[in-house]
Amino acid sequence: MTKLTMIIDLSRCIGCWTCAVGCKAENDEPIGIWWNRILTNGGEEMDTPSGTYPDVSMSYMPINCQHCDNAPCVKVCPVGALRKREDGIVFLDWDRCIGCRYCLIACPYGIPSFNWKPPVQFPDTSQFKIGNPLVPVRPVGVAEKCTFCFQRVDAGNLTPACIEVCPAGARFFGDLDDPTSEVSQIIQTTPTIRLREELGTEPSVYYVPPRNTARPQEVPSD
């Protein structure tokens, strides 16, 4: 069995959003929709430090679909647009979705996005197509979310766009059922956590907690 898993090393994440932008380009996400979002641990705005000066620290939490084994979104979808594949990917079928937004509500991580208006790509993709042609453009009124780049996985390439473009090497992806894969090695050697474990969703995204966080240097007083 394949068990596709993603690991994100939070001590390497610099909050640059490159993974989010890479994802957006690969999957042709319209204006206003981000499948991959990088939350800042200090507050609601980007790059807000946590704590009170001078004891502040900066850390980030990239969050995308957790592709849970016990996914609430799959359970509640009235038309079965959300389905869990055998390789672990929770796939949202854009052709079947009726846009009820129950998955947005059932997801404990607030992941799915919704096409509130007819999608507008920027830059104008009628001139320059940037998305992967294997990913269809979604119409207005359907939900969408991270697919672990199923189009790459199905073609044999176990490197989703976000893993490929991360400049800090903070993201890893692979088959957890394969003991030789990178993700299996990391899981065995490094303590990892998953989000909201107490809910029993069994997510497939693991986070390596930050071991060091950016701190302001002390200014020498001379």
Partner: protein
């Protein structure tokens, strides 16, 4: 008081309800491998069979009190009317939606 007509309608309705749910249960494979174009989950239209079963079961009340021809008219009216709502909503909105 209950006639053969009523009982047979009741049985037919309940049978359809059970069939609808069973077809669904037997066919449900929420973790089936999906490839584009997509596989279905459950047997297609099982919920419709279930709903028709509900309508027919309830119509036993009409079967018990109306002459056969009138009962069948009512049944047709209920089923067609119900589906017509879907048809109307779908056709009107598919013209307007981008």
């Amino acid at each position: 008081m209950t006639s053969v007509k009523t009982l047979s309608v009741l049985l037919l309705g309940l049978l359809l309800m059970v069939t609808g749910v069973s077809l669904w249960v037997l066919g449900d494979s929420t973790s089936v491998v999906v490839s584009i174009p997509l596989a279905s989950t459950g047997v297609l239209w099982a919920p419709l069979i279930w709903i028709l079963g509900i309508i027919i079961t309830l119509s036993a009340a009409l079967a018990n009190t109306l002459p056969l021809k009138n009962y069948l008219t009512w049944l047709l009216l209920l089923v067609v009317g119900y589906l017509a709502i879907f048809v109307i909503v779908v056709s009107v909105t598919s013209v307007i939606l981008p």
